[in-house]
């Protein structure tokens, strides 16, 4: 019976993973074609999209004290990417479930179409956060956003969207003032090298006067807008600068987590390839000591932790928990 349930769960997970990969690769095309495989942004609870209605939220989070930690997965992934591997005594746990056990914060996991432009996902996230705030059964006191890879850019973009909407409507933003901390795990703030390479390759293939290479270039060019947006990223996180985090978001604290392929962060492989997909943040790219906002950006480097593992690594979790509970930091 258990074996059957396991195989059913695995089948469901594989199907969801396949759909998420397709969304990452061609998500904008799926939306344009009104394809049923296109993922609508939603908070996921036990594998199902959660209705943003009071009763549904009360049933899903009966003990919430109004402190929410919202997890945003990366490109071609879904909320399963936050699960620790199937071994050891924390199999199936996530940073969210551990944080709930240890500090009582309520974890919510977002699933979204990673093939859409990052700005579009940011707008959608701002919208669902507004809806969440309106429907949540207890008053929300604090929001923490944790984004893995592209998820970090979507989180920043949501802040932009919320501020733009607030200034356009003249109404205050509902959820942005509640945002206390933002964690970025392996987020390509200043662009991802792989997409830069793909962009250059496409341009070269297109420039070669040969129909085969042009066809290959055309096929490469089919990748989603979400992937293409990773080429430039959103620029370094600079609180108080023009990154969508000015004024009302001055008090937000930012935490950057980066992994490296080699065990030594100073090793050329670590410097060149970072975590395999995203390079380590350059300290020069962030607020320096003595400048406004310097204390609001902290960086944690995790040697030997590759890009995907940043979403489910015990040392990364401990660092997140420590930053979350750091009294001097709140």
């Amino acid at each position: 019976m258990n074996a059957r349930k396991d195989s059913t769960d695995r089948f469901t997970q594989w199907t969801a993973a396949g759909v998420s990969i397709l969304n990452g690769a061609f998500g904008d095309y799926l939306v344009r074609r009104n394809n049923a495989l296109a993922i609508d942004m939603a908070f996921m609870h036990r594998g199902q999209a959660l209705l943003l209605e009071r009763d549904a939220l009360r049933a899903a989070y009966p003990t919430s004290d109004g402190r929410l930690c919202i997890f945003l997965h990366g490109l071609c992934c879904n909320e399963a990417s936050w699960q620790f591997p199937d071994e050891g005594n924390i199999a199936g746990q996530t940073y969210g479930s551990l944080l709930q056990d240890e500090i009582g914060i309520t974890p919510l996991f977002v699933r979204y179409n990673t093939g859409l432009p990052i700005a579009e996902n940011g707008r959608r996230l701002a919208g669902v956060l507004n809806a969440l705030l309106a429907a949540f059964p207890v008053p929300i006191r604090e929001i923490v956003l944790i984004g893995h890879s592209m998820g970090g850019l979507v989180a920043r973009s949501a802040c932009d969207a919320a501020r733009s909407e607030a200034s356009a409507t003249g109404l205050g933003c509902t959820w942005l003032p509640l945002l206390a901390k933002m964690f970025y795990l392996g987020t390509p703030h200043e662009g991802a090298d792989l997409e830069k390479l793909a962009h250059a390759t496409t341009a070269v293939l297109d420039a070669v006067p040969n129909r085969i290479t042009r066809l290959i270039g055309e096929i490469l060019g089919l990748r989603s807008e979400g992937i293409k947006d990773l080429r430039a990223g959103l620029g370094a996180v600079e609180p108080g600068a023009a990154t969508g985090l000015r004024d009302d978001a001055q008090s937000i604290r930012h935490y950057l987590v980066a992994g490296t392929l080699a065990d030594d962060p100073a090793h050329p492989v670590s410097r060149l390839l970072g975590d395999g997909l995203v390079r380590m943040p350059e300290p020069a790219g962030f607020a320096e000591d003595g400048q406004p906002g310097a204390q609001r950006v902290q960086i944690g480097i995790f040697p030997g932790v590759h890009h995907m593992a940043l979403a489910h690594d015990m040392n990364v979790y401990r660092q997140i928990r420590d930053w979350m509970t750091d009294k001097a930091d709140t």
Binding site: T12, L22, R33, A36, L37, R211, L215, E218
Partner: protein, 98 residues
Amino acid sequence: MKRIPVGQLRGAKDLIQDAVLAGTDAAQRLQLSAARQPYAVLEKIAPITVPVRAVEQVQTAITIGVYGMIRSVTRLTASVADHALDLAERSTDPKAPG
């Protein structure tokens, strides 16, 4: 036994259909363009210009016909799959009549 939702199966069917049709268009374009090259050389030889053009027209017609057939079979298969998915949807929808 866990089933894939019919909506997702329909989405997968649509995506495969789109991919086959786009691939067929690209292959046809590539083949016609590649086949043009030797004819372009041969038709410059005055005594054989007329037969070369005739042969090229026949080959082009055959090529377009074959790719057209692939498109037709793809659309027919997709249509059959749509009907099957409609039936599956009705059988799983408790509100469906009959």
